[in-house]
Amino acid sequence: MNKLILGRYFPGDSLIHQVDPRAKLIAGIAFIFISFMAKNGQGLILLWLFTFLVMSVTKIGFRAFFRGVRPLIWLILFTLFLQILFTAGGTIYFTWGPFKISEFGLINALFIFSRFVTIIFVTTAVTLTTKPMELTDGLNFLMRPLRFLHVPVDELSVMLSIALRFIPNLLDETQRIMDAQKARGAVFGEGSLFHQMKALVPIFLPLFSGSLNRGEELANVMDVRGYRSELPRSSFRQLNWGVKETICMLIMVLLIAAFAILDLVS
């Protein structure tokens, strides 16, 4: 349960915490593209330097970031092995049937690993320093152009914020129900896969029924308090684009420029 990184906000007052969520979102998305611009050794070093800079500016322990990588570790390892074992080229160090470990394979793997991990670290930095509600506000703003395509942007962001809002409640309830079933002699995480799946029924059914009830209650409460999905809504939290946000964007532009130059030079 502790692995869930989404919606996990670390309170703090670092520089990154204070930046407007829209700027952070744009920067985060930009970084994903930037990481693909790193094509040589210097680029790789710059990528990691920037990542560690961002991580240390958040003032959050690195452990929280590593926890963000953990759920994806198998995917990362799988891709690495594919790269290492099936890429040919350069000096070949080892061959065994169709598998070969080559210079190019190792270099490719290093790049892919770096991209994966730095992307996870940087996006984790964004989610760890932004309150879930701010994140949805920011997303809502960035998705606004989609309204012209008749995408129900406001409804989507209300749904997202409700979902995020209830994650802690759900965790709490899961824990309670698990305890209750354990007290009735249920054992989790033992036996065959089928057995383990069957053991989850006594957790999920009450959880579902509880969530449905809560959903209905929430809908009633929203109705009573005058929520109308078809009307435009104002926002209690005002988003503020100031100097910090512009600087943040400039940094990203500079980063892109730096990578472009590195690419040209080599």
């Binding site: 349960m1 502790n2 996990r8 802690p168 965790l171 709490d172 309830e173 824990q175 309670r176 129900i177 305890d179 209750a180 079933q181 354990k182 007290a183 009735r184 002699g185 249920a186 054992v187 029924v201 006594p202 957790i203 059914l205 009450p206 029924s209 509880g210």
Partner: protein, 285 residues
Amino acid sequence: MQIKLNHVTADYQLGSVRSPRVLQDVSLQIAPGTFTAVVGSTGAGKSSLLKVLNGLLLPKSGWAEIGDIKINSKTSRKSLKAVRKIVGMVFQFPESQLFAETVEQDISFGPLNFGASREAAHDLAIKMIRRVGLDESILQQSPFSLSGGQKRRVAIAGVLAQGPEVLALDEPTAGLDPSGKRELLSLLKQWNKSKRLTVILVTHDMETAARYADDAVVMDRGKVVYHGSVRSLFADSEKLNRWQLDVPEARRFQLKFEAVSGIRLPNVCLTEEELAAALIEVGRV
């Protein structure tokens, strides 16, 4: 079944939030067959105490002893299961643990987990649904179709079906109407008396503690500050104040009466009946 806690300290973790020392150096001994109320203000560690008894929260230091099974930070899963069979646990709003298609299946869940045969579980379900004062016909209904009070009784029947020697309940009457509350508590008292079931009841309600419990455990910020008879607890108004505990109505009336009239009643009155008897006695003299 003797219950013993020896210098138990425990932390509690939910998600990434860790509350250190929800229990601090708790030593406690609960005799078999007693009805004990655990009281204290919110966050005093009452629920955590129950969880330790059930092996859901393992002591960080110290140990708990349920009968001859010892629980400490290294206790194996197997002996935890043995503990859970002995100590039945009714959580707050236990109806949220119902999951099966029929009431019978839900009640059988515990016994089957603890190794009962299907026939035995079936017989137990019939026995227990009667014991909680519901009709047998309810067994084939879906637990989700029942009323709140019925659901709660079904949930309690499910715990009783495990055949516990100790029943630990966390606010079992929260959200019940007055008559439902009275019925449930009288049932508990009755099982306690006739079946020699040890009952440990966490409650906020001093009336409940005064009327039904023999002993009281008062918890304050993770520590047990009082363990003794209910009557001597409510006799000491100064301590009650310090621990922010309410005084039962009858006792409050008694105190007011004594202060205004200057007449001392012969004993500490916890219920209306006792109060009425005491007043009559004083009046006669």
